[in-house]
Subunit: 203 residues, 2 copies
């Protein structure tokens, strides 16, 4: 589904190119797990046994590298959406379950939440991947929950996806802070119409 054309005009890649690319993604995967996604680029290059130049030619930005490392897991997360919708007792429960799954995914990659930060204009590759793959899923879950009448609040999928991302962003294991709980609270809020509070604040 991702991977459109297998061989559009196959410019026949050199053997070392293939080999290095695998080595880099492999190393990055290991390094990210061990030191977080903010690990120095040099470290990844060293772990892969390639030079900086090679790494940068293959993955010009850190986000590109992260895409390569996490694309598979993101796809899995996306694909879980329809399945949950089909098996859950109600659309809202499915929504809740999916969002929790999303939280778990982000949470295990220490620091991945930054996806939503930084450059809004250029839209980093990873940011874009999240939008492409996850937004439609969340969108349909939300629609279903709205149709079933469980969700009544006016909220756009993008807002929700990003808000949850922000909440998880820097989660370190803190006994006093349970992201899942907060996320559940947020989703619970969707079940209520919101009065005209929006104007309530000062100034």
């Amino acid at each position: 589904m991702t991977d459109p054309t297998p061989e559009p005009a196959a410019p026949r890649r050199r053997a070392d190119v293939e080999r290095n690319e695998r080595a880099i993604v492999d190393a990055a995967s290991r390094v990210f797990s061990a030191s977080g996604v903010d690990a120095p680029v040099r470290e990844v290059a060293a772990a892969a046994g390639v030079g900086m130049g090679t790494l940068y030619r293959h993955f010009p930005t850190r986000a590109d590298l992260m895409v390569a490392v996490y694309r598979h897991q993101i796809d899995e997360c996306a694909e879980a959406g329809p399945a949950l919708l089909a098996s859950a007792p109600s659309p809202f429960v499915a929504l809740l379950a999916w969002v929790h799954r999303y939280v778990d995914f982000l949470g295990t990659k220490h620091g991945l939440g930054n996806v939503w930060q930084g450059d809004a204009p250029g839209l980093t590759a990873l940011h874009q991947l999240f939008l492409d793959r996850l937004l439609p899923v969340l969108s349909s879950l939300l629609d279903a929950a709205r149709e079933s009448g469980e969700v009544v609040a006016d909220v756009r999928p993008y807002e929700l996806l990003r808000a949850v991302g922000d909440l998880v962003a820097w989660t370190v294991h803190d006994p006093d802070y349970d992201v899942r709980h907060i996320v559940t609270l947020l989703l619970t809020g969707l079940r209520q119409e919101q009065p005209d509070w929006e104007q309530t604040d000062a100034d």
Copy 2:
């Protein structure tokens, strides 16, 4: 450490010490406004007309500097709590208004949200200041709203303070993402009891 006592044993500070400290905080205030709280330390030192050594002796960490710059505003935010509680039509409305004020405060300092990130163990100076000054305020607002029956959800003040902080953290002006809206949704969620959803997710 927060230095409550004016003169515990007044070791009589040198004049230049006083002068430099003022100059640094002043400069930092200007630089932070102009370039965000992540501005290079050198820039602040230059703007203050002092050397790096001087700056670091006065403020060993960036957080210490931020405390000096923002303490006043944080105090104002804290003091607004009781006032709002007294003047708002209901405790929940006061809670909502105060949280929005908190959001506005964080939002105007581009990047200040990082307070909650980083070292949980040592607790950065700024993090600690937020806890000391704002947590009690939010706590009392929340209690009041719970007593009035408007808030029924089980949530601790710390969770809420931090969640909102995370939501605002990197807010850049994005037409597709309105933090205030999301925060309102979150608070709305507090008005409902939460079913046993917490367990709903897979695995």
